[in-house]
Symmetry: C2
């Protein structure tokens, strides 16, 4: 089997990255990245599915061993993306999807350069603003703050591997699947196909 | 309109690159790279379609001005791929396809790093050998020479951008089209989409 990859979906608030990821995941080829947290499980949350739950000392140990792709604190609880889970899934041929804001995405890329970074954005700036307005959940100040941040985040675009426009969501998903296929065709991700060429394995590598 | 790109299809003899290129070209998005030559036109050959015909002094001038992606001599005539034609087509949004053997492909990449290099190969080495045998046009010695050369060419694989297996030709074509789409989604090839985002143009960039 060929290796999978780490796919980071990022972009400004209003780019629709949450929806895109939700539509991408229900597939055998994709797996959602799971966060590790020191927060107590809520009713119905399953360890290893919703989160990997751990103690503060377990968390600290992994952090000190450089074992997180990125980590952060919210309301006194620690959250982090363990590199071990990502690597296991990739070795099993999966495309691990991580949805994350722009600053975090660039940090992950620094730590894990093989990651594939996709910048998702609406077709126009006006559309981005309307999407934020339509939600109706944020104050005018908050919308102003978010559109300003979006402008700043756009400055980081050239650090990304790909730019996908989320106008029609099916077209955006199609583009993302094409990117994943193309990335899997990189020669350095093709050891299975190359071994097969020389007759060293029987597998029909995908 | 977004920029097109230069797509180089290469690989060992028996990889089927000629057939792949023939099936790829009849599309509005693709254009075959045209060679410039000092050879006289044959009956039916059209200047600017089959070849760009030129004099030896015209050829020499372009060569001295570093205006060829690659050039070679056959039977006393000069042949070269003019970079000007490729650039014009790319500016017009086309994917210019250049079918070329491995040594030439790597030379073009050196001269034109934006080129996208695809290494095409049969699923197995045995299949490569059978394809050469099936042709029935080459001597045993020639087949031996070509399989030996294929082994050498495989050594260059990691210098390529992508590896496409040509087992089922439709799957190979599908992979190549996905690569082209993914490459067009690179942020540095997306100036049209980015300008559109900021409201600086009306075009719906593809």
């Amino acid at each position: 089997m060929n290796e999978g990859l780490l796919l980071i979906i990022s972009g400004p608030s209003g780019s629709g990255k949450g929806t895109v990821v939700k539509k991408l995941i229900p597939s055998d080829d994709f797996a959602l990245s799971i966060s590790m947290t020191t927060r107590a499980p809520r009713v119905g949350e399953v360890d290893g599915v919703d989160y990997i739950f751990c103690t503060e000392s377990e968390f600290a140990e992994i952090r000190e061993g450089n074992g997180f792709l990125e980590h952060a604190t919210f309301s006194g609880n620690f959250y982090g993306t363990p590199v071990s889970y990502v690597k296991e899934q990739i070795a099993g041929g999966k495309t691990v999807v991580l949805e994350i804001e722009v600053v975090g995405a660039l940090q992950v890329k620094e730590k894990y350069p093989d990651a594939v970074l996709i910048f998702l954005m609406p077709p126009t700036f006006d559309e981005l603003r309307s999407r934020l307005l339509e939600r109706g959940t944020e104050s005018d100040d908050e919308i102003e703050r978010r559109t300003r941040r979006a402008r700043d985040e756009m400055e980081e675009l050239q650090k990304y591997d790909y730019l996908v426009i989320n106008d029609d969501i099916d077209e955006a998903l199609d583009d993302i699947r094409k990117i994943v296929r193309a990335e899997k065709l990189k020669p350095w991700r093709s050891s299975c196909r190359i071994q097969h060429f020389y007759g060293n394995n029987e597998t029909n590598c995908i």
